[in-house]
Symmetry: C2
């Protein structure tokens, strides 16, 4: 079988499918790069919550539940992905933010989530590096983090050393079908790779793969993130999330500040304005970051869907095809659960309940 | 003879000395890098003017006078250094800046410099990309620019293809003397390179070379600069200089925003705070830069001297030694004139008048 895409979704699927006995060929011109490389690795089912996205919240809660066992399985295979149960702190800079957070807290408590209001004088005790101008916070213990780069590099290494998996750097131009049944994929240089099963995990590039009637368009949502390094070790224990940025601090002093959300097509230029805005926003929350080493601007394209939720599952009229894309900002978080579901679809066993609402044909095609 | 340092000063000296018939060995662990690589290439004798630095102004005016012929000579040798007689615009953001500029203009006019007051409504005609919040400006036609990276790379190439010059990547640990006369240099790995003439052009590292009684300490002044690229071509015709940054725009759309002045020793980390401050300052002057591609943070160490002026000439008690260091922010500007003077000292001909006040023993040693 063929997996189109070697990001965190494609590679996790490859690893788990090989474990389940399949022989897998993964095709991606830039394995382990793309959106999963540019991400921050925040596992944030709770602070990612938006009003009206209850099914997505349930998906994300199910997804984060998979992470302790998933990280342990990766560790047993020799890959340390830097999984840390650090929690998050959602911080308010002004009265408007604080009022909004009060409403959010009510919803979170109603949903039974493990959250707690933190007053200004308690904030500095939790996180001494926070600016005195931060007014209040919501402490969220259910959010965690993983080192997304260690994760995708580790998965790629596991796949390359697994005799059942090959990873090739071909671009996939099209999925080929015969009478509604998948027969293989066509590569960018015109060759055919035969396969009776195909997993589409091409992220933001899923919409560029021909030969599919994807009902929902997957579009690139450009994200710019900054990589910094604090020389004196970590400045923060928790993920910090403000109105204009989030800050993820690794135990070794690395810091990721994210992220822009830009509808710019596939323009992959880091821009001066994004760097300025992210640094300014981060500095207002954590002034000590001004002394951190500026390491890199990372740019990636998240696979965006019309309803901000992934497209997962078989697609009617495309026998043999499983779709696993559109994960937007939550690909790392949802990767373990997605791979579990893909294995279930491929082997014909029961898929986790949480993924059922996210069938790729849930959204009416514009042409329908 | 040996030249210690392959920055813009050392390489220009090497090229000109070889042209004068000398056989030259240049030693530098990182040829064509360092301060000259990190610079912006602004040739700014006029806007660099500070009160009370009249001799330095005369030096810089003499230095910029050398540039047309120097650039032509380099071009004739096959090196395009991007010399552009673009002029500068010194801009005021508020009433305080403007009042200060009125005083500066009076001094500049008294010195007979080619400067002109520019009112707000004329600014946008000269430079349409300037922010409407810029109040006034001083137009300085005597300031120019050169592509400092093309310059040092070009000089290095000329030296490497010149049979009389060798460029080795040794560190120089000490200058060796016998009875007050230079006999050679000791490399970092303990070898001796014999030479009866040595040119010390080690920039900020000049103070790290043992065996010399330099009367003035040369210290590293850390500078951080940003390299951007505007995709639609150049945003600006002139060098723009504000209170908190300068912006040098190349004809191909590249932009250099500089520069911090930090007393941080040899700490070569680019910092988040410097990037933020420079982007913010540049954006306030030229808002369109927000869309420019963020390319790089460059870090260099300018050779600072106690009076902000270079140390140039023979050093009593060090027969055979010529010092050419301490050029601070003006190494590129002063390089052609410095090399002319070094050739004169080495060959025993008359040195240009403008360099005479900058003998290395003009400053009393702290121990004296």
């Amino acid at each position: 079988m063929v997996i189109v895409g070697a990001g965190v979704i494609g590679l996790t699927c490859a690893w788990r499918l090989a474990e389940a006995g399949a022989t897998v060929r993964v095709l991606d011109p830039s394995p382990a790069r793309g959106a999963s490389w540019a991400a921050a690795g925040m596992l944030a089912p709770v602070t990612e919550l938006h009003y009206g996205e209850d099914a997505l919240l349930q998906l994300n809660l199910a997804a984060v539940d998979r992470w302790p066992a998933h990280a342990a399985a990766l560790a047993a295979a020799g890959v340390d992905v830097g999984y840390v149960e650090c929690g998050s702190l959602l911080v308010a800079r002004d009265a408007d933010d604080a009022a909004e957070h009060r409403r959010l807290l009510a919803v979170q408590e109603q949903l039974g989530m493990d959250v707690e209001w933190v007053r200004s004088r308690d904030l500095r005790r939790l996180e001494p590096a926070l600016s005195p101008s931060v007014r209040s916070g919501i402490r969220v213990d259910g959010d965690h983090q993983v080192d997304n780069r260690a994760l995708v590099e580790g998965l790629l290494t596991l796949c390359r050393f697994d005799g059942r998996v090959t990873v090739d750097t071909d671009t996939v131009a099209a999925v080929q079908r015969d009478d509604g049944r998948v027969t293989g994929v066509a590569t960018g240089d015109g060759r055919t790779v035969r396969a009776d099963r195909v997993v589409l995990a091409a992220g933001a590039r899923s919409g560029l793969v021909d030969g599919l009637d994807l009902p929902a368009p997957v579009r690139p949502v450009k994200g710019q993130l900054l990589h910094l390094r604090n020389t004196g070790g970590p400045l923060l224990r928790r993920n910090i999330r403000g109105e204009d940025c989030y800050i993820v601090s690794r135990p070794d002093g690395r810091v990721v500040v994210g992220a822009t959300m830009e509808e710019q097509g596939f323009d992959d230029r880091p821009t001066a304005g994004a760097v300025r805005d992210l640094l300014q926003a981060a500095w207002e929350l954590v002034p000590g970051l001004a002394e951190a080493t500026f390491v890199e601007v990372a740019v990636g394209f998240r696979p965006g869907s019309p309803d901000n939720a992934p497209l997962m599952g078989p697609l009617p009229g495309h026998e043999g095809l499983v779709v696993a894309t559109g994960h937007a900002r939550n690909g790392v978080l949802q990767s373990a659960l997605t791979a579990e579901a893909v294995v279930a679809w491929v082997t014909g066993t029961d898929v986790p309940d949480a993924v059922v609402p996210f069938a790729p044909d849930r959204i009416a095609s514009p042409a329908a």
